[in-house]
């Protein structure tokens, strides 16, 4: 098994955070993984993206031109990364930030989820990326949700640990809503 | 019978390679006297520089590491930071300290590195054959200022002591000369102070020594010696520019 996912969005949307969480969750599940962030100029206000590669053997390339999945938190991220998804892949589009996007590709499953609205309903708009990750993870099944929840204390800074329960709630809400889409 | 003057113990008993009348020998001796005076011979690590003074390691009975041109203050920083219990000094000429190594000396001074710096100013590049230095006097002819240094072309001679004295990290800064017995006495005292500054952890001790380069000046040793008072001192005034009296770092 080798699963590469690109997570992308605006800087400040928590992209690198969910990338890290997905990777550490995989580690906790006993899998190997790499996390490769975009960095530098892109960190200063533009787009942010990272590639997380998960494998049950040694991870080869930490970069990929044909990911198994994409988590696109905004419109430009769909445009840039979705066409690269390979056969049997999974795309999550945050429709709160890409409302009119109608991307489709043969052999690619698309989840459309208004992550910001869902987060808002949960009481914290900043949880949108957690909702997205919950939805993606729940659907692709590579990393079990419980390992993501276990990984939260390692990813969130100490001062945000009081928010762990609401982050768990967001992960679960995302997974549940993605499931309902069938 | 009492010994009034003899070769300092930390100066190796060998001939200097310097030209007749060159003041490097005099300054070497003064530094060696300070090493003896403060009994730091066995704890000293020096950073040699590039130029006529590169052979420092042949003349001092101490541990020495050679530095790339201009970098001695950085090398000394590395030595002193890793070995704060050692006595560390650098000995640099004007090409080394005031041209290629300007950044290194300014930032070592600004960091308040606890090292002692002996800066030899003879207004010329010695070892490479008398080219213009940053300290070359206006009008002075050198092999690369054949018409005499012109400020419009080459700028003015640089006054390092005044510059460095401005920096908070410098505990002691003085300019001295070795052209007369009276000046020599003051030079000796200044070098001792610069040593004491390091020993008392008061930041960089810096001494600029005005001296001759008879060969590249095209003068006899005595005539060259006279030039210091006649031409150099009026532009490079002697004196103590800074002296911290205690541990008054902010």
């Amino acid at each position: 098994m080798n699963h590469a996912v690109i997570m992308a969005g605006f800087g400040g949307q928590g992209i690198l955070m969910i990338g890290n969480l997905f990777a550490i969750g995989a580690l906790k599940q006993g899998l190997n993984c790499t996390f490769f962030p975009s960095y530098g100029v892109e960190m200063r206000g533009g787009t942010a993206n990272c590639t997380v590669t998960i494998s049950d053997h040694e991870v080869g390339s930490p970069v990929t031109s044909s990911p198994n999945g994409v988590v696109a938190m905004n419109e430009p991220s769909v445009a840039k990364f979705a066409p690269r998804i390979g056969e049997g892949g999974l795309l999550l589009i945050n429709t709160s930030m890409a409302p009119d996007n109608d991307f489709s590709k043969d052999g690619v499953e698309v989840i459309r989820l208004p992550c910001n609205q869902i987060a808002d309903e949960l009481g914290n708009i900043k949880l949108a990326s957690m909702v997205a990750l919950g939805a993606y993870a729940g659907r692709c099944g590579v990393v079990e949700l419980k390992f993501l929840e276990e990984a939260l204390p390692e990813v969130l800074p100490q001062k945000l640990h009081k928010l762990i329960p609401s982050n768990i709630e967001a992960l679960r809400a995302g997974a549940k809503r993605a499931d309902k889409q069938d | 019978m009492k010994t009034v003057f003899e070769r300092p113990q930390s100066l190796v008993d060998t001939s200097f390679h310097f030209c007749p009348g060159c003041h490097h020998g005099t300054i070497h001796r003064l530094v060696a006297e300070a090493i003896d005076e403060y009994k730091v011979r066995e704890t000293t690590i020096a950073a040699a520089s590039v130029g006529c003074s590169v052979f420092l390691y042949d003349y001092f009975d101490i541990d020495v590491v050679e530095s790339p041109h201009g970098r001695a203050p950085a090398v000394a920083t590395g030595i002193k930071r890793a070995n704060p219990d050692k006595f560390v000094f650098v000995y640099q000429g004007d090409g080394d300290l005031a041209a290629i190594g300007t950044a290194e000396i300014i930032h070592a001074a600004n960091r308040g590195e606890n090292i002692t710096v002996i800066f030899v100013n003879n207004t010329v590049y010695g070892m490479t054959g008398g080219q213009m230095a940053p300290t070359t006097m206006l009008g002075q002819r050198t092999t690369t200022s054949p018409y005499g240094r012109d400020f419009a072309q080459d700028g003015y001679p640089i006054r390092m002591t005044e510059m460095l004295a401005q920096l908070e990290g410098v505990g002691y800064a003085a300019r001295v000369a070795v052209d007369s017995p009276a000046h020599l006495g003051k030079a000796r005292k200044a070098i001792m102070k610069a040593f004491a500054t390091q020993i008392e952890n008061r930041g960089m001790g810096f001494v600029e020594v005005l001296c001759t380069c008879p060969t590249n000046w095209g003068m006899g040793p005595i005539e060259a010696n006279k030039r210091i008072a006649a031409e150099m001192i009026p532009y490079f005034p002697l004196g103590v520019y800074k002296e911290r009296t205690g541990s008054d770092f902010m």
């Binding site: - | 009492k2 009034v4 003057f5 100066l11 020998g25 001796r29 020599l184 006899g220 040793p221 010696n225």
Partner: protein, 67 residues
């Protein structure tokens, strides 16, 4: 009477000692030392006061002075 020891082999005949001796006790000799210079010599020992100015001005540490 002071004693002046001259390490002739080290002398490069720059003449600074001769120039600065307050009692004119020193002069460059006619002989050659191994470096090919006319080394300094004490020509007026009776006048020497052991002030050590010659030693201090000498760049080559040629002198030892006792008194």
């Amino acid at each position: 009477m002071p004693r002046l020891t001259i390490h002739e082999d080290r002398c490069k005949a720059c003449g600074l000692c001769v120039e600065f001796c307050p009692k004119d006790c020193l002069a460059l000799s006619d002989k050659f030392n191994p470096q090919g210079y006319h080394p300094v010599e004490l020509v007026n020992p009776d006048e020497c006061t052991g002030c050590a100015i010659c030693a201090k001005m000498c760049p080559d540490v040629v002198f030892k002075v006792e008194k």
